[in-house]
Symmetry: C2
Subunit: 223 residues, 2 copies
């Protein structure tokens, strides 16, 4: 790793400068920006689909979709009725601020309440890259096993909220939602932890209430 | 990415040279080496636990466990009754050949039939790093969604086998094992595809038969 660290530090420094520019642009418009991170298949897109449906027009939302390949997720978000901009990383394992800046060329943030950046499915790489977001949300599905916050602590350490998804599958898997919650809070006691099922809707109210409050806070700081 | 690619190319070139040295060392001993890759929580360790139990001493096995943090998995493999060497990457998203070389300082490969390298839980980063293995096995759980081979094709493109895990959960999730199989074969028609449940044991026979045949082939090339 000794040959990589200094080089990576230069790149992440450039990324941080770009991210601060983005943060200023988002602040000027009063749009709340979430960076949503998770393993592949943890249910990021399904959580967004359910959230969009339940918010039912109460917030003006847009989504930036990061994927290594395909536009499957962007099409799903588009079908859910909100603007989606796709970033294909061509196999890259995380989004970077320069990609978000490019995406904003295709997205008018004026008047938006909430911009969700769905990062590439990866529990490790995205955690070190600032995208100018207000809040980092880490999503982890119960089916991945309740030890995951301990084994992959990086995202939990820096996140504002952890969403435990697929809790409807608890009866069928060797994993326990309360153990996962405890493990997440062991890594970061300041985390807001939510237990949800995007299929049954369980726990969505509390999660969406948390988002709505953060959107209102951001608006009040702008106006 | 332009600033990163040449640097990364140098590192991966050094890695490839080391990997070829490892491959020669493994060949001299006639030990079959598998590089097992998957997302976090796809069930790599559980598959290994079940495989070790079902093989029931028929093969002499050792495991190298790659994890960003903790020794939870190495302890599980140790409890299953085979030698496990832990590599903690300190947050790094994949194993590299130099790490395997270091692990071999703590592992006697003489007389082994099978060495399994359980890579870091990540569906992207490990796929570009040769570890001197004979075979790459990509594991993907049905709970991750049947579109994953299309969205994360890198591992499927270069793998010899794809194992679809957690098929016992098919009745409870919006994913279909035959669709996942088709998607994997769309990316790489040469894949051996297995559908297994490490909990119920479904499909384990065929997967273990495949491994035993590869072990026998390797032994016959050595002796």
């Amino acid at each position: 790793m000794t040959t990589r660290i200094p080089i990576l530090a230069e790149i992440t420094e450039a990324n941080s400068i770009l991210a601060e520019n983005l943060r200023a642009a988002f602040a000027a418009e009063g749009v709340l920006v979430l960076n949503l991170m998770a393993s592949p298949g943890a249910g990021k897109t399904t959580l967004l689909e359910r959230s969009i449906a339940e918010l039912n027009g109460a917030l003006k939302i847009a989504v930036i979709e990061g994927d290594p390949h395909t536009s499957i997720d962007a099409e799903r978000i588009d079908a859910a009725g909100v603007k989606a901009v796709e970033i294909n990383t061509g196999g890259g394992c995380h989004l970077e601020a320069r990609m978000i800046r490019a995406a904003l060329g295709e997205l008018d943030i004026a008047g938006l309440d909430l911009l969700v950046i769905e990062n590439v499915g990866n529990l490790i790489c995205p955690t070190g890259w600032d995208l100018g977001e207000d809040l980092k949300v880490i999503l982890v599905s119960l089916t991945e096993g309740d030890d995951k916050p301990l084994k992959y602590p990086m995202g939990f350490l820096t996140a504002d909220a952890a969403v435990i998804s697929k809790v409807d599958l608890e009866p069928y898997v060797p994993a326990d939602r309360s153990t996962m919650r405890e493990n997440a809070l062991t890594i970061n006691p300041d985390l807001a932890v939510f237990e949800v099922s995007s299929i049954t809707g369980e726990g969505m109210d509390r999660f969406l209430q948390w988002i709505k409050q953060r959107v209102a806070d951001k608006r009040s700081r702008t106006s």
